[in-house]
Symmetry: C2
Subunit: 428 residues, 2 copies
């Protein structure tokens, strides 16, 4: 395994992380000062962590927060024991988790700890003009603080410098891919109206409502922000390549995953938390009863952010999710841009609503899989079998965990072993 | 003035009040016993009061509650002074109001105190098979209690004996006259579904949503209840004559006004309180921003009854009132019959919501008139002028009050004096 031998302080200036990556406010600029060397090492480590830990990995979040990204990475590279790592964290006055949790985390992280992957993604970021934003940068979205240990370790951004600051007055407009003409009309009306009133539009660049929300903001010369579930070097969905290119010109395309990362089901769900956390409020325009937008809504509510839902005909399945948000989850009924603006002003609603936990699991006849199964299935192909090590690396899980999950999935016939590797045999 | 000279204990048996008018539970049947004489006198007085006081007259409600309908009527007939009346009420342990309020009430009531009118309405009731129900009857709707002094003094009912008892498991389904195809579809779905689940449907027999709600209940062999704003002898609207005839066959057509009474704007608003009070819950299917259904919704909420609103396309003005109920007045979003049933079960919502006061005045570009102006305009014709006495009698207001209101309306040009009488000159 081509492990990073040590955290390189000679991370080349002029590479991706430097190309627009603003230094923390008040930091002294380059020269060979200790500050800049430490900063460069820290940025390199943040970049590495964004590829090592899957989005939302709380243990990674706590460890990086406790020791700093570079020292945290050094622990993994140097194969420190969980006890040693917990001791270091304790000395820093922080709790990272139990020894078992750290052990499991190390098993998840180590298969991904290769210099080549990190450097490849950095080179690709440089090539497509993506820059790294870390939590200490002034551009870092303020709204992410509510995510606690689930905050991303880094963000990759394609767009104009400082445009990310516009997130501080942006509203998420999200909804179903399978939108109706009515839903697209409402997404357009609301987004254009909000853009006219000076608000940015945050969304997920998907087909349907998301795409219409971005487009309307662009058409109104407003700012818009697209959070992707994969690397920002490969725009997804490909049919929105031109749209995303345009967003990168006047707004920002963002991802917590390094360049080269594929979007997976797990990453889509985690991406939704970033949309909800970055925006002042979230509005669901159309959503079927099992739409991913309900997941975004659940994150918004769990974070105590205002949540709006656009009503629609009861006879339209595309509005059923919105009606559910109104009925069961205390979403506010919004019908005009002004009503959305009022939503942002409703400070009294800004307390977390614990009832929303259930929303992450919309009622469905389809069986809900545990998170680890989702991630393992994401990592498997349907043709070529993959080794357990390979699956572990792709899924961001430990080898032992992957073996156990594969066993369970094998029992139900969802995966099968072939030529010493594994492939999936069912649709998810 | 052909005033009732005394409360007649010789109220003829076999007249309207007797034609199906059930005695209170356990009351001994006729004979010339004191009980039946007193009861007959009381029923006659209730019938008289239903024509003397306009719907919702709290002073009348308090006086009848304090002294009984017959003694209360006797006070008016005998031209007792306010001081004497207040003294009698005090002796009965009740507060009726200030001397000024009683004085004003007497001025409203006296112009209407004619034996002929009462007897005419009773004869007409007998002719059309309407019977009188008074608060002590076992049929009296339980839900009316929440109305306090605004409770009606009597109900006139056309329908099968005891069918009124079905109101105890009935739900109000109301909405705009100018309903859309979508609204009518939803009214049908909900009413039919509720009828299938054993609930009666209460509504106002208007065109649009109301009519569809009644029809669907009938089509599902359910029970249905129509509250009218005028007498039950003349079905209104006339286009619903056949529908109301059918409702009277299997359900009940109800009014607090005696036969011969015309529906007026004021009476429509007061009728709405009966719908909201009689039903377990109120569902608004479609309503424009100024729909009368919002008035029914306001009554339901003020009474602490569960209130549901059916969402619709934001692009449809017919749903704007429903969205307003969802946004501002905490109505529950209902989309299926089962969700309406859940509404009834929501006991925790059954506390009065004081915020709803504003709902009686939906925002509108049209000027809102004070209640007394509405009643005076209701009482004026646009062709033949009417004397102040005549207007006072029709409006159920005192002569002095009518003069003052006519003065104000005259200043704005809404009414004009002609040949010593008054007529209205503008549309309302």
């Amino acid at each position: 395994m081509d492990a990073v031998s040590s955290v390189s302080p000679v991370w080349p200036h002029g590479s991706a992380g430097d190309a627009g990556g603003a230094e923390p406010d008040g930091a002294v600029e380059p020269a060979a000062s200790d500050v800049s060397v430490a900063s460069a090492a820290s940025r390199f480590a943040h970049a590495a962590w964004s590829g090592i830990a899957e989005p939302g990995d709380a243990t990674a979040g706590r460890l990086v927060a406790a020791l700093g990204s570079a020292a945290a990475l050094e622990c993994v590279v140097a194969r420190q024991s969980p006890a040693t790592i917990l001791g270091l964290a304790r000395d820093a006055g922080a709790a990272v988790g139990t020894a078992g949790e750290v052990e499991a985390a190390l098993e998840r992280w180590r298969p991904r700890l290769t210099t080549s992957t990190v450097l490849t993604s950095m080179r690709q970021a440089e090539r497509c003009g993506a820059r790294l934003i870390v939590p200490t940068d002034h551009e870092w979205p303020e709204g992410f603080e509510g995510l606690g240990p689930h905050q991303p370790v880094a963000l990759w951004a394609r767009g104009r410098p400082d445009a990310v600051l516009g997130l501080r007055s942006a509203i998420a407009v999200v909804g179903a891919r399978a939108a109706s003409g009515y839903g697209e009309h409402m997404a357009m009306e609301l987004s254009a109206g909000l853009a006219d009133r000076g608000f940015g539009i945050v969304s997920g660049a998907a087909y349907g409502i998301d795409g219409m929300a971005h487009r309307s903001a662009l058409a109104s010369s407003g700012q818009t922000f697209a959070f992707l579930a994969g690397g920002v070097d490969r725009f997804y969905p490909t049919g929105h390549d031109a749209l995303l290119t345009r967003i990168a010109e006047v707004g920002v395309v963002l991802s917590e995953l390094p360049c080269g990362s594929a979007p997976t089901k797990w990453r889509f769900l985690q991406r939704n938390r970033l949309i909800a956390a970055a925006a002042l409020a979230t509005v669901v325009v159309e959503a079927g009863v099992r739409s991913g937008s309900l997941n975004t809504a659940a994150h918004a509510a769990a974070l105590g952010r205002p949540l709006g839902a656009v009503p629609g005909p009861v006879t339209s399945p595309s509005s059923a999710g919105c009606h559910r948000l109104l009925r069961e989850f205390d979403a506010v009924c919004v019908t005009t841009p002004d009503e959305v603006v009022q939503l942002v002003g409703e400070v009294q609603r800004a307390s977390p609503q614990p009832v929303l936990r259930g929303l992450e699991a919309p009622p469905s006849t389809q069986k809900r899989r545990p998170a680890e199964q989702v991630r393992v299935l994401d990592a498997l192909g349907r043709r070529a079998p993959r080794s357990v090590d390979e699956v572990a690396r792709r899924a961001g899980l430990g080898v032992a965990a992957v073996q156990s999950v594969l066993g369970a999935l094998g029992l139900e016939g969802a995966v099968e072993e072939q030529h010493g590797g594994w492939r999936s045999v069912t649709s998810r």
